[in-house]
Amino acid sequence: MDQFLANISLLFEFPIVNLKIVIDGVMIGALFALSAYGLALVWGVMNVKNLAQGDFVIAGGYVAWWLANQGVHPLLGVPAAFVVLWILGWVIYKLVITRVIERDLFTSLLATFGIAIIIAQVLNLLFGSDTQSIALKYDTLYFMDGFIDVPIAKLLGVLMAAALATGVILFMKWSRMGQAIRATAQDARAARVLGINTEKVYAFTFSLNSAICGAAGAIVVMVWVIQPFYGITHSIRAFVIVTAAGLGNLPGVIAAGLGIGALEQYGAHIFGIGYQQAVAVLLLLIVLLIRLVQQKRVRKSLQ
C-alpha cells in the first residue's frame, strides 16, 4: 500500500512523468483503437461479438515476425499480415461465422472463443510460447532534457495505424462496398430487398475486420511484444473500448482506445507491472457498471 502511495505522490512531484505515461499510453492505445474499430464494425454490421479479435492481432504479429526473420523488411510485414489475415478471416467466416449470424449472441461469443483457443494454440505449436518482438534500427528522439523518449519506431507505428484507420474510414465512406456495408448495418432486410448481396457483405466485413487486426498486430510486434496467449487481453481491451464508446461511434472508439492505453500505463505505474492484466479487466468491469447505472436512469425515466 505504501508503495502505491509513493508511486502516486511521484506523479504529483514530477508532472513530467505524467506526460511520459500519457505519450506511451496513447501510442499503444492507437493500436487498441484499431482492433476495437474492427470489433465495432463486425458487431454493428452482423451482430457477432468476436472474442477471437485479440488472437487475430497476435496472428498478424506472428506473420510479420516470421517474415522479418526471413529477411523481409519489417515495414513490409504490415501489408503482408493484412493479406494473410484477410484470407484467414474469409476462411473462418465461411466455415463458422456464417452459421452463427442469425443465432443468439452467446452462440457467436462461444464459437469465436473456440476459434480463439484454436488460433492461440496453433501459434503456440508453430512458434513456441516465448515472447517475441522485432527490433527496428531507428533512433530515439529525446525531449525535455531526456525525460521523454520517443522511439521513432513507435512513432512510425502510430503513423501507420493512423494511415490504416484513415484508409478504412475513407473506404467505408466513399466506395460502393463501404456504402453496402453501412446499408446492411442499418437494416439487413431492406438492404437485401434493394439488391445488396448481404452474404457477400458479411464475408467482406469479417475479412476486413480480421485484416485490420492483422495489420495492427504487425505494428504491435514492432513497438511491443507478442506471445501466443496474449490474445485474450487484446480481446478484452477491444470490448472495453467498444462498450465504453458505443457502436457506430468512430471518434468515440478512437478516444476510448487512446484513453484505455493511457489508463493502463497509469495502472502499471501505480500498482506495478504485475497488475497490468488486472487493470485491463477492472476497467472492463468499471465501464460495464457505468453503463449499467446509465441504463438504470433510463429505465426510471420510463416508469
Binding site: F113, G114, I232, Y275
Partner: protein
Amino acid sequence: MSKRFVFYGVLIAFILIAPFILPDFKTQLATLWLMIIVAITWDMTGGQMGYNSLGNIFFYGTGMYVAAIIAIAIAFDVGEYTNAFSDTIYKFTDTQYFLGAALGVLGAGVFCALCALIIGYITFGLRGPYFAIGTLGVAIAGGELVSNWDWVGGGQGISLPVYPYDLEGGKVFFYFLFAGTGVAAFVFAKWLYSTRFGAALNAIRDDEEKAEAMGLHTMRYKLIAWSLSAFFVGIAGGISAFQLIHFEPLETAYQTINLGIFMVVCVLLGGKGTLWGPVVGAIVFHLFKEVTWNYFLGWQWVALGTLIVVTVVYFRDGIMGWLVRVRPEWFGIRVESREREATS
C-alpha cells in the same frame, strides 16, 4: 414407474461400487464428478434461466481459497503458514484435518453463495452477452487480485496437509465426497425444476420483461438461483482444495479458460436446459478430454477448440436435444405422425 426405479437403483449401485471395480480410475472418476457438479450448477442459470455466465469459475476458486483458509485458521496463523519457508513444519492432527475439511468445505459453500448475491446484484443488470463478458471479467479479475495478495500466498498458492491415512483410502474418500455432492446437486436440481421456482426461472429465460410484468421479482429469482448454484460450486472447490493438496491462483483455482469454459461446453454438448443434459455432456466431454490429452498431446487444445466450435455451430441442441428429436417417445412425448405411421 418400476422401470425408472430399477434405472435409478442400478445407477446408485454403480456410483457406490465404481471406485472399487475401477481402482485405477478413482481420481479420474472424482474429476468426472467435479465436471458433473459444475455442469449441473451452470445449467441452473445458463440453461434454465438464460443467463450465460462465464464466471462461475470464480466460485470454484473462491471456494478453494475459503476452504483452505478456514482449515488453516483452525490450527495456525494463516499469514505465517502461507509465507513459511520449507524448514518450518506444520503438522495437522487428524481431528484438525477432518474438522478443518468439514468446516472449510461448508464455509466455502456459504461464502460463495453470499458472493453470488453481491456480484449478482451488480452484474444481473447486464443482459445477454454483456452478462457473459462481465462475469468473465469478474473471474479473471478475481484470479489476478488473489495472485497479488500475499496473505494467501500470492502467486505461489497454498499447500494443504495430505490425507492423514493411506493414499488409496484418501482417493476413495474424495471420490465419495464429490459423488455425494454431485448426487445432491442433481437431486436438488430435479426437485427445483419441478417447483414454481423452476417455472419462474424458465419464464425469465423465455421473456424477462413479460415475467416482470406478470409480477415476478426477477432480480430476486436470479439472485437466489445464482447463489444456489454458487453454493454447490463453492463446495466442489473446497473439496478440490483438499484433494489437490497444493493449488495456485491462476492455473488451478481461477482457471478461467480451463474448467471455466469446460463447464459451458459440457452443458452445450449435453443439451442446454435439460436435467440430464449436463450429466451426459460432462461424461462425454470428460472422455473426449482424457482421450485427446493422452493421445494428441500438444494438439489437445486445438481439438478442444474444434469441439467447442462444432458443438456450438453444428450441434446446437446437444445430445439430449438430439435424442428428444430422434426418439421423442423415450421422453413421454407423443408424436402424432409417428403413431399414424404405426397404425397404418
